[in-house]
């Protein structure tokens, strides 16, 4: 177990480092950072001055090592445009996205588990096919469009929920619903296939032979086993949800980390973009490890090793 943990820690660190280098190279690949800041009409001297101020005139490896060294100490540099520390920008924006992501994964679990179980219990029937089609349709809906439609329906026509911002908790509801669509199809399918396998397993047959009620068989025996991979995968799905928050935050004008990144990309503010990419990579690696760990802890067959 310890070896397994150390191995995935090392691998995760390597993955983050690679992503970091790649994002750094990408952001410096275009030589126009200083022009972006100075504006298109700036004189060559002004541009050179900005380049010097920001250290952009040094060789790339030097810039990278400098940045990575500071980042390791928690100093992610200053935003080119906001004149604020990147770390403080991130710490003000991230909690919003995190709350949104947690709510979305919660909705996804609440929707996907019962639907998946239902589809499995009525496997091969019209109900099963209908639920499968709903999952496919959920996969086909573009998030930004769904957001706009929900704004029209629930925000304008019914006036139930706010259409932008997260000043109150109600503001989180619509964007979280949209984000939950990222995870629902995958979790639904996984629940269904897990339940189908579980219901055919020997221990369920034994439970039936003992004369247990159908409800007890489904919930206590089959579901417990089918739920393990779903729980494990929900951590990875949370990573995808957070990564997909950009679009939803722009639609609902929520100033979370995705919105910050989108704004920064559009203005060429690369210290912020790099930091956000690094943050997402860290989160993804962390959640993947968490998912493997949960899978191992929940499954006694794996736990022993």
């Amino acid at each position: 177990m310890l070896r397994f943990l150390l191995r995935s820690l090392l691998l995760g660190a390597l993955v983050c480092l690679t992503v970091l280098i790649a994002s750094f190279i990408l952001s410096r690949a275009s030589g126009n950072l200083a022009i972006n800041i100075a504006g298109p009409e700036a004189s060559p001297e002004a541009i050179a001055k900005i380049e010097h101020q920001l250290g952009l005139d040094r060789p790339l490896p030097v810039q990278f090592l400098d940045w990575a060294g500071r980042a390791a100490h928690g100093d992610l540099g200053d935003s080119f445009l906001f004149h604020e520390k990147v770390s403080s920008l991130i710490s003000t924006h991230f909690p919003i996205t995190f709350r949104l992501g947690m709510l979305a994964i919660g909705i996804a679990i609440v929707v996907a588990l019962p639907l998946g179980i239902t589809a499995a219990l009525w496997e091969g029937t019209a109900l099963d096919i209908a639920i499968g089609s709903v999952a496919l349709l959920g996969q086909a809906v573009p998030g930004f469009w769904l957001g706009l439609i929900l704004i029209i329906w629930f925000g304008i026509d019914l006036q139930w929920l706010p259409i932008a911002g997260v000043a109150t908790w109600q503001g989180y509801v619509l964007p979280a619903i949209v984000l939950s669509f990222v995870a629902i199809p995958v979790m639904l399918r996984l629940t269904r296939s897990g339940m189908v396998d579980a219901m055919r397993a020997d221990y369920v047959r034994t439970a039936r032979a003992k004369g247990l009620s159908r409800g007890s068989i489904v919930l206590k025996h089959a579901f417990r086993n089918a739920a393990m991979p779903v729980v494990a995968v929900s951590a990875v799905q949370l990573g995808f949800i957070l990564g997909g928050s950009v679009v939803v935050e722009v639609v609902f004008n929520i100033h979370g980390i995705g919105y910050l990144a989108w704004e920064s990309i559009g203005k060429g503010d690369f210290p912020v973009v790099q930091a956000v990419v690094l943050l997402f990579a860290l989160i993804f690696v962390g959640l993947t490890m968490l998912s493997e760990l949960m899978g191992a802890l929940l499954d006694p067959r794996v736990r022993g090793h």
């Binding site: 993955v15 690949a29 573009p142 469009w145 029209i152």
Partner: protein, 277 residues
């Protein structure tokens, strides 16, 4: 196979065929030029709403351009994006996956590592950054998505290859003295291709939706090209007064992605392939 199980393949196949026909013949069917503006006739409602006319069956947009003509071209652009990206990502992902699965050992570890790195990259942020840096055009969008969206191909090709190389006919090919390349191209690839086709349909739908999202965020296919995502983005300022301006292109996008997914699902059942993740 019962007809209910064949239904996804039939409906999905119908939608995909229709989309392909629109992509090929759409410009011939279009009642108007998709780029001609007519500011005197902005926001003509579609024919089924009050005030609509059969002259513009799907209405006109904020610049008076015929919506149907733009939608027809939009479907073509979406399919173009979907096909190009899938070919590119399929080449990258399949090569990586087959190499990892075939050779195993440290080569496989490297492949797994590359896949992990790709998964750790926030797809949409990196795509936005690339398009911002390089400048938005249809080609840039297709290349960017194609270069990023290969991980499912790699994962599926790798696991399918690992299964195939344990089978007798691969051993027979080795015994017959076939070269590695010959075994990979002649024995492995033909026997994993049905998995890859299913992955291709999933990724194609994802690529189309991703391109639409990029357009929506302002870093996708540039105007005045009528990509479906851009049509929604341009019309969203008017959606409170005329909701159909975003409803129509959104529904077209949904049906297209749904049809491709359904087709893939039907193919998977018919071919007995895995779905990947």
């Amino acid at each position: 196979m019962s007809w209910t199980r064949r239904l996804p393949l039939l409906i999905g196949g119908f939608i995909v065929t229709l989309a392909v026909l629109i992509a090929i013949f759409g410009p011939l069917l279009a009642p108007h030029d998709p780029f001609t503006q007519d500011l005197g006739h902005r926001f003509t409602p579609p024919a089924w709403l009050p005030g609509g006319s059969s002259l513009h069956p799907f209405g006109t947009d904020q610049l008076g351009r015929d919506y149907l003509s733009r939608l027809l071209l939009g479907v073509r652009i979406s399919l173009e994006i979907g096909l190009t990206t899938v070919v590119l990502s399929g080449l990258i992902g399949t090569s990586l996956g087959v190499i990892g699965g075939y050779f195993g050992g440290w080569i496989d570890s490297v492949v797994l590592f590359i896949i992990s790195c790709r998964l750790a990259i926030p797809l949409i942020l990196v795509a936005l950054t690339v398009v911002f840096l390089v400048g938005s055009s249809l080609t840039v969008v297709m290349l960017t998505i194609g270069l990023l969206l290969w991980e499912r191909f790699a994962v599926v090709a790798r696991s399918a290859t690992r299964q195939v190389i344990t089978l007798d006919y691969v051993a027979a090919a080795w015994c017959a003295g076939c070269s590695r390349l010959r075994v990979i191209l002649g024995e492995v690839l033909p026997n994993i291709v049905h998995h890859l086709i299913v992955v291709a349909t999933i990724d194609m739908a994802i690529a189309i939706l991703l391109a639409a999202a990029l357009s929506f965020l302002g870093l996708g296919v540039p105007p005045p090209m009528p990509s479906l995502g851009l049509m929604i983005a341009e019309a969203k300022d008017y959606m409170f007064f005329t909701p159909w301006v975003i409803e129509i292109p959104g529904i077209v996008l949904c049906v297209l992605a749904f049809g491709i997914n359904l087709f893939g699902d039907g193919l998977r059942d018919a071919l007995g392939a895995d779905r990947g993740r």
